[in-house]
Symmetry: C2
Subunit: 162 residues, 2 copies
């Protein structure tokens, strides 16, 4: 791949790395507690399997993106990298969707199921989760752009050769 | 695209259509009610924005897949269809992830947030949601395979020409 095509991908990966690392750290540091009817109520990300999944996926995406930033780009790995990028986009997409669904219940509750909103009691926790979701969303969008750009390059080369 | 390459894609799309239509219908027909402390508790998919999102995405994917089944495949649309397939895979992935996160709370509850499990009260509703999730999962996997197969074809053609 020519240098002019590698620079946009490098910059996109740098942005994705920033977003996934932010999402991971902001979610890990989310913590708040509240006193309610003599019961101490502590909110942290490990309380929910969905939030743990979010942290795990963003950590994996961070590691993957970091490796790819310094990977000697050989065209023979292009096929594999495109598929790994696709898997990473799907995993990030999955983690923010799941996290958003739980966050929505945390914010608004669900009266039909009798689940009360918790953000009024632990606002700092909810702010952190919102921040992590925004960062995760940026990461997912950037991975989508990486995929589009890679596909565009592959397709254009293909069309030029025919 | 040659016929030998169009048949696997046609079969995969047929399978995807079956899965997304099943997921939509099974979720829409999910319904159960329970009597609890003189209060009637009714469970249906419209009670949760996540389940409504799941139905919407699977309905969109059904429509899209149906159109593509009878689309006269011209190579000039290949680029666009590949990107639309990617978007569809991401939307299906997002809808099952969100639905799975809520389903997990419905099944196990979350003691930290004070959210009680509801599947004990409305088992028929939970069975339907589980069925819809399985069908949705199949659809997402099939769309992943469609993407892999399309990428494989594009890449192979590209490698042959170089």
């Amino acid at each position: 791949m020519s240098l002019s095509k590698r620079i946009p991908i490098f910059l996109l990966r740098l942005l994705a790395l920033g977003a996934t690392v932010s999402a991971t750290l902001v979610m890990i540091t989310s913590h708040d507690s509240a006193q309610l009817f003599n019961m101490k109520f502590e909110a942290k990300y490990t309380n929910s399997p969905t939030f743990k999944y979010f942290v795990l996926m963003n950590a994996i995406a961070s590691g993957y993106t970091l490796i790819l930033l310094f990977f000697p780009s050989k065209s023979s790995y292009g096929h594999l990298i495109l598929i790994l990028d696709l898997v990473m986009a799907l995993l990030l997409d999955s983690s923010i969707s799941a996290c958003l669904a739980i966050g929505q219940v945390g914010k608004n509750g669900n009266s039909h199921a009798g689940w009360l909103p918790i953000c009024g009691q632990v606002p700092k926790f909810c702010d952190h989760v919102t921040g992590a979701l925004v960062a995760g969303f940026v990461a997912a969008i950037v991975y989508f752009l990486i995929l589009l750009y890679s596909l565009h390059n592959v397709m254009n080369l293909f069309l030029l050769k025919t």
